[in-house]
């Protein structure tokens, strides 16, 4: 399955200024993200991480610059060859009037897939995310962690080229967060979408990513590869992991100090 999704994002000279704002949120930002990468966006609050994610998702238009989706053959994506993008927002935002099954199958239904045809894929994902037997539950019957699992399953159901996640685990307790991190990591190594994750947690970024990009003052402050390899079970206890985590936290503190 590895390397099947070949789309690359090329963001060039991205600027974004919201009306009524003195300073632009993003300015002259360059970033290329290759197919199959797991990139975490870190940085202090207000540095433009979420804005960048919303730009990449197509929910915002840049004030300056261009965002290009480049297909494996080098052509710009357009028309019917647009990449499949999935978004996992901070809140699980399930449709309360639909069951877990119908929530997860929604993106497939929007493409005209019949309910019966969607079923194997949906049930498979629910099993992978520990939601087996929950398909007929209503969202209000689920805990916060389970709702987030459903939200992730819904994002993955179309086997997206890009999985964009905006602090999806911020509201969860640490244990749930770790477990979901493990599950997300497993799904990533199996299916290899390109993942872009906005997070405040250095540990989460270090554990999950193949690359960490830090933003500061609306541009890329630094860009660091994370070379722990695909197998990461038990990684959190390793000295190398702890060292990298400490190094990244120190860099972020330095960025913060430079701001004030």
């Amino acid at each position: 399955m590895a390397e099947t999704h070949g789309f690359r994002i090329e963001a060039r000279g991205i600027g974004k200024r919201f009306s009524g704002q003195a300073a632009p949120t993003l300015s002259a930002l360059d970033l290329t993200i290759g197919g199959g990468e797991f990139v975490s966006l870190l940085g202090p609050s207000g540095c433009g991480k979420s804005t960048l994610l919303r730009l990449l998702a197509g929910l915002l238009r840049p004030s300056e610059g261009t965002i290009r989706w480049v297909a494996p053959d080098g052509s710009s994506a357009s028309g019917t060859r647009l990449p499949d993008i999935a978004l996992v927002p901070q809140e699980p935002t399930l449709l309360p009037w639909k069951t877990v099954f119908d929530n997860v199958s929604l993106p497939l239904r929007l493409r005209g897939t019949a309910r019966a045809a969607a079923a194997p894929r949906v049930l498979d994902l629910l099993r992978a995310l520990g939601l087996e037997g929950r398909e007929k539950s209503w969202p209000r019957e689920l805990s916060g962690g389970m709702k987030m699992r459903v939200s992730i399953a819904r994002a993955l159901v179309t086997e997206p080229d890009f999985l964009l996640m905006d602090e999806p685990f911020a509201a969860l307790d640490e244990l749930t967060r770790h477990r979901l991190n493990d599950d997300l990591r497993a799904l990533y190594t199996q299916r290899r979408p390109t993942v872009i994750l906005v997070t405040h947690s250095v540990e989460e970024a270090t554990f999950l990513s193949t690359r960490i990009v830090a933003l500061s003052r609306g541009r890329v402050a630094w860009d660091l590869p994370v070379d722990f390899g695909p197998e990461r079970a038990g990684l959190r206890d390793h000295a190398a992991f702890q060292a990298l985590r400490g190094d990244i936290a120190a860099r972020l503190r330095a960025d913060q100090a430079a701001l004030s």
Partner: protein, 271 residues
Amino acid sequence: MTDWSALMARPPLWLRVALPCLFFVLVLVAWQVIVRTADISPLILPAPSAVLDDLRQHAGTLALSTWNTLLITLKAFVLGTVAGILLAIAFSRSRLLELAVSPLLVLTQVTPTVAIAPLVLVWVGIDNVDSAILLLAAIIAFFPVTSNTMLGLRSVSHDLHDLFTVRRATSLQRLFLLELPAALPYTLAGARMAGGMALVGAVVAEFVAGSGTDAGLAWRISEAANRLNTPRMFAALFLLGLLGVAISGALSLLQYLCLRRWHESAVSRDR
């Protein structure tokens, strides 16, 4: 004592039905006693027993009138609700339309039905009084549906809209899979109001327009008033009240059935 307060905090259905019925019976008994002991003229206030006699003697006519009023109320309700939802959808698609038209709609609501009834009669009611009554009742009924549905359509969370945008949903998919279901609790609350108002509209319109081919309860009341037949007036009023309670109850049931699975308002919570 704690049993009693627990019972009052979450009264079961039988109690919710039994209590108002019991109270109503008490009122009737008191009424009967007062009328008999004070010897009040039946022209002013007939005893409940006299009203019951009249109900029994003219059951056929009154039942037919009740049926006619119910029919026109239901038609007005359906017409008003459908029109109300369509209008709300149109307004939510076009801000221009909303800004231009909605203030005029308020005009139809602040102008009393009684005042516009003669005009509607002139326009549509000359040959067909029934459709004039229907139209008047629908004009009153649509408004709560429109304003509530609009509120509901606007209250859909931005995150859900984003989800549909990222997934490249068509605007019809967005309407039917996201906006209308999200607005449903609001629409149903509006429909409950519309049910009551359709009945009010049907009665007021019949008072003003007179009766068409099928006389409704309002016609029975004004007819009885002309003949100083007070027991008949009470009998018709009683049936009208019963009709109102039935309509309101049916719409509450509909609301409950539609929302019980997922909406906070209908989901009972264990304490």
